[in-house]
């Protein structure tokens, strides 16, 4: 009776593998949860501790303070000021530039490689764009700081060499491969039968791509954009190096800017543990965490809804 024995053994192996996979999935969730707890715990004194609240509380973080400088981030001055609005504005404006720069380029490239380019050209373009994803962000930041900044300054005629446009474009370079890869997958997986039906009706390849393939791939394309957006918001090294790092409350893209993530990276190393400044930095951290989490949840929900609409289950 050899058979049953091997059967049970393979069953056992299958069970073990299944258990292992389940455990690793859960460990990711547990890890995420622990990170949230840890950062949240360090941020909490902003709301609860009287000592900390004297220096930094929600209203000082978000509301205008004195007349001359209503919003300033000066955590190490004699009277520390902890307004985080300039950092929010900085993050948002650089993210905006990055997204406006990267998404059209990435989607255009994806549309080109999936619909129009001959096979050999796609085999050439795709790996190159994906290689861009492999460049460490410190290298991209260095490039933006040393090389690109001068050209950007000249091109746009900007006073400051390091500014939000420069950082945004550098950030865009990091966003392009993500958006491209996911969007190209979404476009390529649109069934050939749709293209055939469209061409057989006398549509041109352009009409087919724009009116049939693109809408069919829309859920995936939106997911690509959200991933790119998330990457832009969280990216630290590039903005730290290329933005000039001045916490200015201004939507002017030509001025230097400072992001939430770069602030944490630059200041957490030297802050006095347990000080108001320390807790504010953690508060920024948890804000970023919650923001990206909510953004992802919303995007997930929205994409699923769109998918249902395209596939006709609602």
């Amino acid at each position: 009776m050899n058979r049953p024995k091997t059967m049970t053994r393979s069953r056992f192996a299958e069970g073990a593998v299944e258990w292992l996979i389940r455990a690793s999935a859960f460990s990711a969730i547990v890890g995420l949860f622990l990170i949230f707890i840890f950062i949240g715990k360090e941020a909490l004194p902003i709301l609860t501790s009287p000592d900390v609240r004297k220096e930094a509380n929600i209203s000082k973080l978000f509301l205008p303070q004195d007349q001359a400088h209503p919003y300033s981030w000066q955590p190490v001055s004699e009277i520390p000021k902890y307004s985080i609005l300039p950092l929010f504005v900085g993050t948002l404006k650089m993210t905006l530039v990055a997204v406006l720069f990267a998404i059209p380029l990435a989607l255009g490239a994806a549309l080109f490689t999936s619909e129009f380019s001959p096979g050999w050209l796609k085999e050439f373009i795709k790996p190159i764009i994906e290689l861009l994803a492999g460049i460490p962000s410190v290298v991209l930041g260095f490039f933006a700081l040393m090389v690109m900044a001068s050209y950007v300054q000249e091109l746009f005629g900007i006073v400051y060499r390091l500014n939000a446009i420069n950082a945004g474009i550098a950030l865009g370079l990091a966003v392009i491969p993500i958006v491209y890869t996911v969007a190209d997958d979404a476009l390529t997986s649109v069934p050939k039968s749709y293209r055939e039906a469209s061409m057989a009706m006398g549509a041109s390849p352009w009409q087919t791509a724009w009116r049939v393939v693109f809408p069919a791939a829309l859920p995936g394309i939106l997911a690509a954009c959200v991933l790119g957006f998330g990457r832009a918001i969280g990216e630290t090294m590039i903005v730290l190096m290329a933005s000039g790092n001045a916490a200015i409350m201004s939507w002017n893209l030509a001025k230097p800017a400072r992001s939430l993530s770069a602030t944490i990276a630059a200041e957490l190393g030297e802050v006095v543990v347990g000080s108001a400044h320390y807790h504010v930095l953690f508060f920024i951290g948890i804000s970023l965490f919650i923001f990206t989490f909510v953004l992802n949840m919303f995007a997930h929900w929205f994409v699923a809804r769109l998918q249902k609409k395209v596939l006709g289950t609602i």
Binding site: Y194, S198, M201, L311
Partner: protein, 252 residues
């Protein structure tokens, strides 16, 4: 024989080195149903796709001979494929409505060919759905996704989508093979209604179907058009022994 709408003369088609259609000469009668039968791989779909030049999309394809529509060569330089395909529509084996709303599916052809003004579009869509008998069932859910429909209605929708561009010829490549018998019967009924206004060419593996609905039948074997005649002649008095064998089910 009645007036011919489409005609192929000494047509040869090659996929690279593979000779897929050999010296095919055939005349497709106007306002009639012509079926193309034959064993798998004999070139039925290839012949069908010659008439709307869908084979052009395959890089390796080479065509010699003539294909005429009302006496004009459809492979000539002057003729653009977009206007040809508007006049010669195609229904595929698997229903393939676009992943858009029912309305947008039917409006697709008129939009890309700029056939009507915007305010006339709704009426055109309604008329096209009426021609296939879908209007009553679908008029209240035109904004639903076309993919939410059952297969038979999807196939009808694909036919409506073609009728919206007012074609002359409908090419159908095994349009019922993904449908159940009841749905098949309904589509056949529709085809019989449509043949008053349209010329229909259908590829089918279903011998009964060819016998039931078509006026003319072409039998193909290994890239050759072996026999072409009225359907009754093909099924009751075939000239070629191979045709006899095939229609009586001895091979295929």
């Amino acid at each position: 024989m009645s007036i011919s709408s489409l005609e192929a003369r000494e047509l040869n088609l090659y996929y690279g080195n593979f000779h897929a259609l050999k010296n095919v000469t055939v005349r497709i009668a106007e306002h009639a149903i012509t079926s193309i039968i034959g064993p798998s791989g004999c070139g039925k779909s290839t012949l069908l796709r010659v008439f709307n030049r869908m084979n052009d999309l395959i890089a390796t394809v080479r065509v010699t001979g003539q294909v005429l529509m009302h006496g004009r060569d459809i492979y000539s330089r002057q003729l653009d494929t977009a206007s040809l395909r508007k006049r010669v529509g195609m229904v595929f084996q698997r229903p393939n409505p676009f992943p858009l709303s029912i309305f947008e599916n039917v409006a697709y052809g008129p939009k890309i060919h700029a056939l009507v003004e915007k305010h006339e579009l709704a009426e055109l869509v309604a008329n096209s759905l009426k021609k296939t008998g879908l209007w009553e069932q679908l008029k209240d859910k035109l904004n639903d996704s076309a993919l939410s429909l059952p297969p038979e209605q999807q196939q009808r929708l694909c036919i409506s989508r073609l009728l919206a561009t007012e074609p002359e010829v409908l090419l159908m490549d095994e349009p019922c093979s993904a449908l159940d018998p009841i749905a098949t019967a309904k589509i056949e009924e529709l085809m019989l209604e449509l043949k008053d206004k349209y010329t229909i060419v259908i590829v089918t593996h279903n011998m009964q179907q060819a016998a039931r609905i078509s006026d003319f039948t072409a039998f193909m074997l290994l890239g050759e058009l072996l026999e072409f005649d009225s359907t009754s002649a093909i099924f009751t008095n075939p000239q070629h022994p191979k045709t006899q064998d095939y229609v009586t089910g001895r091979f295929g």
